[in-house]
Symmetry: C2
């Protein structure tokens, strides 16, 4: 098993999370680091997707991962072993989300800032959407087995994100998931979000997603 | 489309949720109603399972459902249409969980108390576990596509529940899910929880689950 550092995050005391998030976003931009906040339900495939993505991206760009979990070090070890990239485990101590100050604590533990950092948020479609982490891009994963109605039931995370990644598309024949209906449901919440369907298992859509991220980093950062 | 009543829940102001939950549990017991709190990730199959269960149980017992959602009436309408049972939609107004006072508001809107009530909590493996709803049985669903490691990553909900229902077992060949490993992971969190694998799609395990619930109601209620 690879060794990864684990940090137990302190609960934030800042009243002004939005201000702290904006400061963090600007600081990272000055240092040339692009931060992507990755949100989803438990088991939507965040870690598997990140492993596949980083292995595609690493010839172009240095990347790192911060894995937030209430408990366990499963994900950070897995990412470190399978990609060789900088990886750190953040324990939230029971907290259901990350905010900007917790994100900053994670970044300080990461031992240098690569060009691209993925923040894998706690698996939860509700609470993480309420807190700006300071990321330049908020991405939400929706997996095919969860169902195409989820944007109707968890509105805020779909409203706030810049990118929806529909994962496990290889399971499309197995579950009653209607991609066009899902896209319509996302559009009800968010007319502007980019939507990319992928399968980390078969590789479908992974090239497009890698290119999308490289384009974001190289030109169109949220400021 | 069937008509179901929708209630927008008021946020609770009670400091003593545990006391309110205990009072509610005792009141329901006196009235002969057994309440099951059903928790899971988004898309783990709560509503589909409840439809299948209620259709099996309804020749033995009167049942009702309270569907909690941040938004949308999809679930309550679906349950009412497919089972004909009493069904009510609870909107949490953005809240990520239910507590005992919110549960009480739902019960007051249900128009009479059947012998068995399912409370479908907000799809979230984190926050609902922190609040006693007053239920006699806390059940958590873990679906095969989510992965067998979830008890390691979302400890509290597995620690606190009395029953783990492993859903979508029909997808076992499609996803890398190891049932024995999953059971060991649940046991690390909770040596006493009952564990029942089911597939609402094929019917596997549904008879056992129905009998389990009838036995709970008829003899072994949590008090």
């Amino acid at each position: 098993m690879g060794k990864v550092r684990t940090i137990l995050l302190n609960q934030s005391v800042l009243a002004d999370n939005d201000g702290e998030a904006q400061r963090l976003r600007e600081e990272l931009k000055e240092k040339g680091t692009f931060l992507i906040n990755v949100m989803s339900s438990p088991g939507a495939g965040k870690t598997t997707l990140l492993v596949g993505l980083i292995n595609r991206l690493k010839e172009h760009i240095s990347a790192g991962v911060m894995e937030a979990d209430i408990d366990s070090d499963v994900d950070a070890v897995r990412v470190a072993e399978k990609t060789g990239c900088k990886s750190i485990q953040l324990h939230t101590g029971g907290m259901c989300h990350l905010d900007a100050q917790m994100t900053r604590q994670g970044l300080e533990g990461l031992d240098g800032l690569p060009r691209l950092i993925f923040l894998e948020n706690v698996g939860n479609l509700v609470c993480p959407a309420e807190y700006d982490t300071g990321a330049h891009l908020d991405a939400v994963l929706l997996s095919v087995p969860e169902g195409d109605d989820k944007p109707l039931k968890y509105p805020l995370v779909f409203q706030k994100c810049g990118l929806v990644i529909i994962t496990k598309t290889d399971a499309g024949d197995y579950f009653p998931f209607d991609l066009q209906k899902c896209i319509r449901n996302i559009r009800l919440r968010n007319p502007r979000a980019d939507i990319l369907p992928v399968s980390a298992k078969t590789g479908e859509g992974m090239r497009e997603l890698s290119e999308y991220i490289l384009n974001k980093i190289n030109g169109k950062e949220k400021t």
